[in-house]
């Protein structure tokens, strides 16, 4: 298998596959005790383990250096949390007045995030990238974290009286979130494409985060 050395664009390996980490055998730690699996352990342990895994992945997105962890064990809990939070904050005030225009509905944010990340993933698959579908969706979802932080920051800025300066601060914050998200996802996903096609795969990712950042900037309190 000398060929793998020749593949310049492919640092991760011949074919990257996801694997779910299901700890079935804990007998090594509890030697004297009867068989112990996830069904028997306290529910707190189960939840805490998953929460810890999600938290570690958030950390990797905030400081994108090492790319293996986020790719190897994908899950969709983090993206679901981020997406639900953003959709809840961003949704337009549909109850107060039906006629006036406004922000997106809850479902529209949801659809943009999920369908958007699926389309971006499908695009990189169609371009010939070697990465599994859900890995890419997972990475794109986790990389929403910077834009979510930008959304929280914008929400706090919106509490004070709005001036042009405040708008520019919000603009800067969400652009920083956009740049951060794009950079992080590029680190994780950039290597899965051939060198000549990197830009073609990165552009849709950038567009995806740009649209979400646009939603973040445009979000104002309904008054």
């Amino acid at each position: 298998m000398d060929h793998t050395r020749l593949e310049m664009y492919d640092d991760v390996g011949g074919h990257v596959e996801g694997e779910m980490n299901i700890p079935t055998n804990k007998n090594a730690q509890y030697l004297g005790q009867p068989d112990f699996n996830t069904l028997d352990e306290p529910i707190k342990d189960t939840i805490m383990r998953d929460v810890k895994a999600v938290g570690i992945k958030f950390g990797h997105v905030l400081f994108p250096k090492e790319k293996k962890t986020l790719l190897k064990e994908w899950d969709l809990w983090g993206p679901l949390m981020l997406c639900t939070f953003m959709a809840m904050v961003l949704q337009g005030s549909s109850l107060s007045d039906h006629t006036s225009e406004g922000g997106p509905e809850f479902a529209e944010v949801f659809v943009i995030v999920w369908i958007g990340s699926m389309i971006v993933t499908l695009n990189s698959k169609l371009l010939g990238g070697n990465i599994s579908f859900f890995q890419s969706v997972c990475v794109l979802g986790y990389c929403l974290l910077p834009t979510t932080i930008a959304l929280i920051a914008c929400r706090i800025i919106l509490l004070v009286k709005q001036t042009y300066l405040m708008f520019f601060i919000r603009f800067g914050v969400s652009m920083a979130g956009f740049a951060w998200a794009t950079y992080a996802s590029m680190i994780f996903l950039g290597d899965s494409q051939k060198p000549g096609r990197k830009l073609l795969a990165v552009y849709p990712i950038g567009l995806f985060y740009f649209i979400i950042s646009w939603l973040v900037i445009s979000h104002t309190t309904s008054s």
């Binding site: 006629t99 006036s100 225009e101 169609l126 010939g128 646009w214």
Partner: protein
Amino acid sequence: MTNLQEVPTDDLLSFQDYPTVPVHTAGGNSTISVPVTQIDVSGNLKSNPPSSTNNMPPPGNPNNPSSLPNLGSPEDEETPASKSFWTIEYYQKYFDVDTKDVVERIIASITPKWDNSLKHHLRTKPDLYGPFWISITLIFTIAISGNIASYLQHASPSYHWKYDFHLVSYAATTICLYITLIPFTLWGLLRYSTQAGDVEDLDQDNVTPGALELICIYGYSLFIYIPAAVLWSIQINLLQWLLVIIAAFVSGSVLLLTLMPALRLSKHKFFLAIGIMVCHALLAAGFMLYFFHVPNTVPVPAIQEAVKKVVEQSKTNATDAS
């Protein structure tokens, strides 16, 4: 012999990764006479002999330059046939472009030339990457800069401006319809109106462009509206109309020049050409008028007030009726 058994999978992998490297295949051709022993002796040459064994069935290749395209083409023709319609690999042939190709096609789509460079680019292999992402970009550019335009129109402390996310839906509907309906209609019209006698004189693929090719051409022709949409948000009436004319003229003329060989054979070439231009200009004018333009005479808030009143009246009527 174990090496020989491993050969086909390695061959498949290496060939898919390097579809357009003629140097290797040329090297393979030269070493074609030493197939089996070479594998066992040197590890370096392992990658080359499998590709040469693959080329064995058409073995003649007396002259190198003519054999090079022959090496590529049977591979390209075989892969789509072997892939199922439902797999991703089936569609990969529509996305088989590099950054360089896409940039070249975009540049060709905004520079009208008589020598039909865009057609030349597209004729080899039409892609769907460009049309798809150009459409998506255009949809969101129009939505975003439409909002900026509406903000600039209403920027006053008294009027509480809200952004309208649903411009995305309107823009998406328009562009999706334009990029699917028009090429298919044109394709049908060309098919219908092309004289049968002329078709047989010329070679077939030079005459009627396929529906996919038309979609590709139309998709790239939308590119110029992206910068135009950004500039449309500047609220100067003259500039807006100037942009409409320039954008529609430039990309419309590229469209016409690209389609000219096909149109020339049609019976109604004059009407078709006018139709293409009018549709393209109407799209530009429609974008500008709907998303960016504010009529000078009627203030928009007054309309909104009126609409609100009407809606509330109808609501009360509905509740009374029930």
